[in-house]
Symmetry: C2
Subunit: 274 residues, 2 copies
């Protein structure tokens, strides 16, 4: 079985893929759209993409593609704590330049200021690219901020552990596929993600949509508006909620439809934690 | 009087600044955080930043900074239609490379494919940078996708007009300042923007917050969740609504507070259209 993921090797998505599918063939793709397309085109059986980070917010490339273009379901969610490591080749005694993705740099800023105040910072497209670049230049005084998996992948040594400033940093990953699988990881919850579009002629439409969930006691875990890409002020909403009772969820979806609210189920999935 | 804006000269923000403050000294800054900081530090009297685009969605750098760090009010909103122009130096007969910001490239993709199928695409940090770069290399077969203002600013000629694919493309700009001013532009509405954080111990808290507006017939024009940057699944919400009656809005804010819902007024402003 083949599983596509947001690469390169050593990325956080790769780590999720390794934990969820330890015995399958994992194939990296260069960006989120290409990961999803690889699944649409049947090149892989599952595809793994990041969907939300607790600090940065939603990954719009994922949610917009799934709403606007794809007819694909999320069958598993994986929550991964994001921990950043400072890494270099073994011989490096001096660090003059530190490479990483802007988010990882922001997370490690305080640590770098205190411990490497003279180091220059260089931005890369991803943390894994930063690690690979540092590994390719073993003679230079370079270091990278990247996940543990990247140190392993590119043979670098972690010289400072868990340098991220905010302890609580998690990313949600979605596994797209035909059907769910049980993973050998702790299961946290069962959830549903919906995209809804509200009719123009229904005053207080969002309020009414939320009341469908509120009076049934269905717990919303997230609501987000995204532009419909038509006119300013027209949105679709992504709503995540806990699924403790399939019947109740079914009735809620029926009621939304009867109100004239358009729904697209993005996924119905178990949530696992690495 | 001094007005800071997201530069460089010829940017869409610059155009908004020129229309709103035609007789004032306009000062460009390199990124959104620096624009807002220039106002915080008293270097300028007003600051203009983009806050939302009808296709790309919210500009998180703006809303996150205003919620998390700043105690600044929005006093004017400006809505500007975004139209993209293909421009080059006068002598260019052949176009082999086209430079622009990724969003403008996405908007012009169809036009380029039909008219310049052989041209290479190069990404720049902003449309105005693309125009400046092309102007600096008059001997090269280069073109830029950028706003009209950039052609004027850097002495380029528009060789194809309004090449954007989706006609309805608007950006909202916020003017930060001490007090409002009347602009010599068509006024569309009066609005309030709130950031609210919901208490943990209030079940269905978002639903209750929305009901404060719904039963008063206050029209929400936008709702968006953004991560609180604490744990995954904790959000603050940005709510925009029409202000047709100051008293009604005052009562709504009081009721939110009495429910234990924390509110921060981001602005109370007139909306003008360029």
């Amino acid at each position: 079985m083949k599983v596509g993921y947001l690469g390169p090797s050593g990325s956080f998505t790769h780590n999720s893929a390794l934990k969820a599918f330890p015995n399958e063939e994992l194939i990296p793709f260069a960006n989120i759209t290409e990961v999803i397309k690889s699944y649409e085109e049947g090149l892989v059986d599952y595809a793994i993409v990041p969907v939300e980070n607790s600090i940065e917010g939603s990954v719009h490339e994922t949610s917009d593609y799934l709403f606007h273009q794809a007819d694909i379901k999320t069958v598993i969610e994986i929550i991964q704590p994001i921990k950043q490591q400072l890494m270099a080749t073994d011989d490096q005694k001096v660090i003059e330049k530190i490479f990483s993705h802007p988010q990882a740099i922001a997370q490690g800023k305080k640590f770098i200021k205190e411990n490497y105040p003279e180091a220059k910072i260089e931005v890369t497209a991803s943390t894994a690219y930063a690690a690979r670049f540092v590994a390719q230049h073993p003679d230079k005084p370079f270091a990278a901020i990247a996940p543990h998996a990247a140190a392993k992948e590119y043979g670098l040594t972690v010289i400072a552990k868990d340098i991220q400033e905010i302890e609580e940093n998690y990313t949600r990953f979605w596994v797209l596929g035909q059907q769910s699988r049980e993973l050998d990881l702790p299961r946290l919850a069962s959830k549903v993600s919906l995209a809804i579009t509200l009719p123009d002629n229904l005053p207080g439409a969002l309020y009414k949509a939320l009341s469908v969930f509120a009076w049934r006691g269905i717990d919303l875990t997230k609501i987000e508006s995204r532009p419909l890409k038509t006119v300013l002020g027209e949105y679709f909403f992504i709503i995540d909620f806990k699924n403790d009772n399939d019947d109740l969820v079914g009735y809620a979806l029926e009621e939304l439809t009867s109100l004239g609210i358009n729904t697209k189920v993005l996924g119905q999935y178990n949530v696992y934690r690495i």
